[in-house]
Amino acid sequence: MTYIPKPAVVHPGLQRNEIGLTRRDYEGSMTTLCAGCGHDSITAAIVQAFWEMSIPPHRVAKLSGIGCSSKTPAYFLKEAHGFNGVHGRMPALVTGANAANSELIYIGVSGDGDSLSIGLGQLSHAIRRNVNLLYVLENNGVYGLTKGQFSASADRGSLSKKGEANTMESIDGCLLALTLGATFVARSFSGDKAQLVPILKAGLAHSGFAFVDVISPCVTFNDHEGSTKSYAYTREHNVEIVQADFVPPAAAITASYEAGSVRNVMMHDGSWVRLRKVAEDYDPSDRDRAYAYIRDRQNHGEIVTGLLYISAESQDMHAQSDTVPSSLVDLPFEQLCPGNNELQRMQARFR
């Protein structure tokens, strides 16, 4: 049975959604991320999306891997069960949970290291299975929690003037998802709440694996091999301790721009990202055109954001394996155990 939690003490002026809850009811504990971290902006957008959709928080299950990004489920939906698993393995946990209870709403939060390095295999296969879930990849191009190593999404082109790692081809989560047959693929930017919230809501609404790649700047680690802020170099010059340990209080990046127009946004590390919002008339129903479009803009040094692809005939894991409509955890034991008579009968087979 489902409980609609009673509205907490009424804060005058606090707006309520259809089930009488305020945004507060969708928040979690205090963030422990750096001031200005893009991930916190995404958390806010998630809170907003769930609130707007009037989803009972306790009917949500929030899962994550390990990383700064993966900490964020603690910062939203305090009335939802949370599972902070091991690094890169959230997709398996959520697949199992979803198999057991198909009636909950699942959100998985991960980072680019968590998803594209150690977790690449599990992410790919969860996409294949089309597990019904909103998957948010909080993408900052680095391993934040381990202090700024490049991740697999560190873009080759945009970092060409820097250290070694950038010589490697970056992995574009959206292109990967499309190639693996994802049924919902979107990209947004933590600083663009206006765009992000609707995408998150669409992802929650989608029945199947909703892949959302959110560019989410790491305000703290823009250093890298060969830079004057790298561990080795600064160690040599004896200024490193002060600087590497120093974190400026930075404001979250924000950007807003006209549909179809290109806007340059300065990242915290001083590099620029060009954002092109998909034109309003863009048709996100053609997998191959979406892929080609992203690639084409990429070749022009642009990152396409928006709802890039959504499949009309998405069949989620349960639809594919034809499980009963009610979730398996709710099946009474009597329906599961054939009993002794049948056991005796069937053993004729073993003689």
Binding site: M1, T2, Y3, P5, P57, H58, R59, A61, L63, P73, A74, K78, E79, A80, H81, G82, F83, N84, G85, V86, R89, P91, A92, L93, V94, T95, G96, A97, N98, A99, A100, N101, L104, G121, Q122, S124, H125, R129, H318, S321, D322, T323, V324, P325, L328, V329, L331, F333, Q335, L336, C337, P338, G339, N340, E342, L343, Q344, Q347, F350, R351
Partner: protein, 598 residues
Amino acid sequence: MDRVNDFAFKIATANGTGSASANGLLMQAVFRMGVPVTGKNVFPSNIQGLPTWYEIRVNKDGYTARTPHFDLMVALNAATYDKDVAEVRSGGWLLFDSSWPLDDRLKRPDVTYLGVPLAEMCNATFKGVRERILMKNIAYVGALAALMNIDEDVIRQLLKEKFGKKQALMDSNQKAVDLGYQYAAKTFSCPLPIHLEPLDKTKDAILIDGNTAAALGCLYAGATVAAWYPITPSTSLMDAFRGFCMKYRQDPETRKNRYAILQAEDELAAIGMVIGASWAGARAFTSTSGPGISLMNEFIGLAYYGEVPAVIFDVQRAGPSTGMPTRTQQGDLMTAAYASHGDTRHICLYPADPREAFELAVKAFDYAERFQTPVFVLSDLDIGMNDWMVPKLTWDDSYKPDRGKVLTAEQLEQAKSFYRYLDVDGDGIPYRTLPGTHPKGAYFTRGSGHNKYGGYTEDAEEYVEVVDRIDRKIQRATKVLPAPIVRTAPGAKLAILTIGGCHAACGEALDLLAKEGIAIDYMRVRSFPFGDEVGKFIESHDLTFVVEQNRDAQLRSLLMLETGLSIDKMESVRYYGGFPMSAQHVISGIKARLDKAA
């Protein structure tokens, strides 16, 4: 000497030729005649063309352990002639395909040769390569039937049951049997001294492999989610579970499935899915073997520290690394007991045969949920993939799953507060809640440091409080885990302590030693951590022989660690070449030590 209903024979062929089916038919026929029988399938780790053997032991006294001594050899694989002829006991028989002259490598003065022109007869009788290859196997079944006095009607009946509707298949199989039978009957003086006489010792028994039995246990325990990655010798467990689910887990009206079997992309994902499903409230399990366990290590630690139930079947094979995937061993005892980095200790169950695999599979789910922790069921290739004769399985319809301390929506509604890791009852077991139940039930499961309230912590005292409680919880489980099986001999100062599938060999060894006047007590542990009785048992004997199937005496290691006793109390008796343990191995190990002493 009288060898009626007490002998062993072996069939050497190549895999992929269909011989396994013929051998199964033989074994089943003996069983139907009411004579206790055991079969060991020794197959290679490839699909076609490599040597494979099938060993059948007939024993009126019901000894089911493997015996390394063979009275008769069916040598149909030229690739292994040397090895095979050497395994026939002096004075024994060797059956070969006399379509070709007897190969020199097969010649031995002290062996009687039984030439049967299998190929010749089948080529003359059957059309098509496929049928000819297949029927050659059925033909030697017929020959052996004549030689060993296996009831023709029983075989006919078995063929009918198998091919009931398929008349053509039925006929050709019957014809092949007759070919072999008649040739042997008229060519040799049948039956041989080693032959069968009907008995009535199998009517309350079944022939079943441990993987099928374990799958039945999962079905009856109410498991709804299974996640796995194929690996020999555990694959047939999941295949069997799927088979049972297709039959017993479909909604009668809609035919929709009341189960989910997830073929994961690897073992890391498989165990992750099991943990996720258990966390969500399902009874979930995975089945794997050594390499899979190694890959599951990280996740197992998460389940242990996050206190999430999980059931893991480890059908052990010969390690280390890839090892010998089609050979049996008990090599994961240590790995399973302390799997994952950091301080961990896991509940393990050790079935000795398929029947116990069924029973312990059910218990595994009860323990996993009751103690909110991973539970290993450690069987092995011999138990899992070979057909064993065991008493019929029974089920207590009053059984109710032990879901452990799970709070319902109502309880949460009443509760003033809920904290996940509080030791409310002082038994080390906290209360859990399932996702979606109730807003008050929400908590955050994590493998990082947490305090008893479920909050993240890096505080020394808070951290220690939780890991100490978990340690108590697992230790207390010994109060309810399956007790060891004990068998005492009056005045015995010596003892055998063993585990799992060694049970059959040890039981036989005890009887043989008793005949020689050597009195030995016996204990077989069935679960880990061990209860106090285990240490007491060892202490109460001058010397305990620890019998197991691995190189490093892993059971003895567990005994030393958990009882604190010195190695002097325990003499290790090991066999780890990949075959099941035999009474001969046990006895020679024990005698070696006794002779040393003497």
